[in-house]
Symmetry: C2
Subunit: 476 residues, 2 copies
């Protein structure tokens, strides 16, 4: 598909510049730099021009022109993606379409059930707007200060509230998207139920900018829970994870809003490298869980006490601390949220964002650890993540003393090994980060030919010239 994508002519670049205005078209390499690399330093792209349209109409004009010329377009939000989907290819032929100037809150429903926002607002700004309206937009990510809601939609972002509220897909009533030829699909609706034809909304969400550019969305808002109770819990073994989760689910039902797990070693990394953190419990344990209940006033702390008491009696929990204040709760969350950053202090790390059916997480942890040792003896597996979603960030820090570059050269071999275990357990090689560039080859390796062919047909139907985010998600 992308074979037809061509380099940009200087006349084309001038016309693009005229659409968005000279101040919003960046050709200078120094100014371009922050848009062309990402925080893991895995990719460094090149582009003749970054354009920053201010409206859906300008996005439409940019795409119509690019489509007519057959030039590739890479949509970009806050540039926080972890798989390189937002970075243009090194060919330097693709233009970058930054949505960061589309920042309007178009509407908040008077009853507080929905809010229509443009793609370039950060997730943090969206959360804040909901809060000011007395409501909750529950999507939450470590990168929420920079990540845009448009990027969250394009990647179907996950985060730590998925257990109770679902991923981004579940938090959206409708979207507005500009198609490859510049036509605008107004799918902005605020309907809980709508069975009028194909589910186009969910086709665009998670398509990583390869089927259309999402310019706005009508988001679901929720009542803010009266209170939250957070606990940090020690477990005696990997085998206690599933029964403890199931007990929590049975007792707490929909008030169970987080069930995050960490191995002991990642907690050690956090305490060692992240200032202001300390171990919440006195003794070591092989596994820890951060559990949160949210609900009506006066309901969650008593429920937490009962749950932990029952779990302790059943031998599923060896120690626990319940936060007595918001500050204490934040300190517990900090340990979980700093896990990825803490790895930087331990040298190179190879990371996987995988999921399996929840009952198979313990098996994944055991078999994954064995596979890692076969690829690199001494490498340190530090799995953590969203147990309640079956989503494991299967990260692996290098053996102490090994050269960083030598370790990172094992990335593909390690990914194969971990993904093979994942697939053998019925799992996914990308639970929440997407495919981008990082996993294009792995996707082609693990998916059935029928599924790849289906995706290709959809891609060709919606973007016949292959101009949208070329080289991402589907192999050319």
């Amino acid at each position: 598909m992308s074979s037809s994508v061509r380099p940009a002519s200087s006349e084309f670049l001038s016309r693009l510049t005229a659409i968005v205005g000279a101040d919003n078209a960046i050709a200078d390499p120094a100014e371009q730099a922050p848009y062309l690399s990402e925080w893991r330093d895995l990719y460094m792209g090149r582009t003749p021009l970054i354009v920053k349209p201010a409206s859906t109409e300008e996005v439409s004009q940019v795409l119509a022109l690019a489509n007519a010329e057959g030039v590739g377009v890479v949509p970009q939000g806050g540039n926080t993606g972890l798989v390189g989907g937002q970075i243009p290819r090194e060919t330097g032929n693709d233009i970058v379409l930054s949505l960061k100037r589309m920042r309007r809150i178009r509407d908040i429903d008077p009853a507080g059930t929905s809010m229509t926002v443009e793609a370039g607002l950060t997730l943090g700004e969206v959360q804040e707007a909901a809060r000011k309206a007395g409501r909750l937009f529950p999507l939450g990510l470590a990168s929420e200060g920079s990540a845009t809601i448009g990027g969250n939609l394009a990647t179907n972002a996950g985060g730590h509230q998925v257990l109770a509220y679902g991923a981004t897909r579940s938090l959206v009533y409708g979207i507005e998207a500009v198609l490859a030829d510049g036509s605008v699909w107004d799918g902005l609706r605020a309907l809980k139920k709508d069975n009028t034809g194909y589910d186009l909304r969910d086709l665009f969400i998670g398509s990583e900018g390869t089927l259309g550019v999402i310019t706005a969305a009508t988001l679901k808002l929720f009542p803010e829970p009266d209170e939250r109770t957070t606990a940090f819990v020690a477990l005696p073994s990997v085998d206690a994870l599933l029964p403890f989760f199931q007990l929590a689910e049975r007792r707490a039902g929909a008030t169970l809003t987080a069930f995050e797990f960490m191995c002991d070693l990642i907690v050690s990394f956090v305490v060692r490298h992240i200032p202001g953190t300390r171990r919440p419990l006195a003794d070591d344990a092989p596994w820890f869980v951060l559990i949160e209940l949210s609900g009506a006033e006066g309901s969650t702390s008593a429920l937490m006490e009962r749950l932990l008491g029952e779990a302790s009696q059943a031998g599923l929990v060896t120690d626990a601390v319940v936060a007595q204040s918001l500050t204490q709760a934040e300190a517990l969350w900090k340990i979980r949220e700093a896990a990825s950053e803490a790895q930087k202090g331990e040298g190179g790390s190879i990371k996987h964002d995988i999921s399996v059916p929840i009952a198979r997480v313990p098996e994944l942890l055991v078999k994954g650890g064995e596979a890692v040792q076969r690829v690199c003896p001494g490498a340190r597996s530090v799995p953590f993540g969203h147990f309640g979603d079956g989503n494991v960030h299967y990260n692996i820090s290098q053996p102490p003393g090994m050269a960083r570059a030598d370790y990172l050269a094992l990335w593909d071999a390690m990914a194969h090994a971990v993904h093979d275990v994942t697939v053998s357990l019925g799992g996914s090689i990308s639970a929440e980060h997407g495919i981008g560039r990082l996993k294009v080859a792995e996707l082609a390796r693990v998916k059935s030919p029928v599924e790849i062919e289906l995706m290709r047909r959809v891609k060709t139907a919606l973007d016949p010239k292959g101009i949208l985010n070329p080289g991402k998600l589907l192999a050319p």
Copy 2:
């Protein structure tokens, strides 16, 4: 698209018969009859052959052959659809593919998180299998004894538990579908999170058999709540509906599992025509709500008492009865569930399945009533439905004494009037029943050309010869 669809040759019919076996190929008109009409008697189809494959492999062979011949195929489950999607056209050229022999429960996850079932099981059987495994499959419909899970998936069925658990789409991890050319897409996964490419699952769900034939699904199972508390509540005016719902949502959060509303007249119809029913409250009121809370043991009845007390003090509720036993709860539900059937006793009825943003339901009820009177003075609007989903079954019984046929001749004019009000409020002309044949023209009338074109492109990409359920959902 469907212009290329051809009549079936006798050789083709013989080969189809050979695939499924002579006992499972129905050519006799008398035997065919139950498959060719539906319970509202709106459509009476014709077909040369009904085939009943027993396996995905047989479905694959049937479709490969039909695609090669260019013959239309109409998938059918329990034949309970309300928009004619499951009935072949009167041309008599399309074959019917009944999924009712595909009845295996393929797998129940040992941790009880998922269950993989074939398309031909009834929803009631699926619910029962979940119950036997100590879990809950929450989809619930009046027609659950006959409707198949495959039909529920093809139409993204709604029902009365959507408020807490979502429509069918939300209750499915993955599906298996046979494509137009007979290739089989194995999308059966049991993953809460999976961001590996386009959301093909949700493209097939709700596509009413026009993109592929769903043969199996991996369903989400939930913990059965310890208890439910059900109440039947009288409201003083249409303006009390929204604030009462919002109060319930705020106080009960995720334990609010049903919020169904009925106008006074439909309650009268039920009590008059459905044996064994009686008014739950002594006095009349303009509106009634059936409210249900589900949760941990001992939590819901106290919460209901507090909620009703607060609502009463705020003047939102004038009377209420709380069920003291399962039998009493069932009697309250019976009134709601018999609403549609009760209309039969009042002559002809014209029905609409519409939704609007929840804050606009009261406006819909007022403006809808006015529009109805303009089309047919004296017609009796009896709206009821899933208030918490913004989903109104805007049904209208004929004026007393009018000839039934004269009234039903107004169907299109009435539908235009009600749908115009709905669309003006940002609503949908099919909240949960789909498009089928009944609303093909209305869909083309109310959707944007961009959206229709997008759907057409997807249809052509996946079913290039247009053999799948021709004439349904999209106008030829």
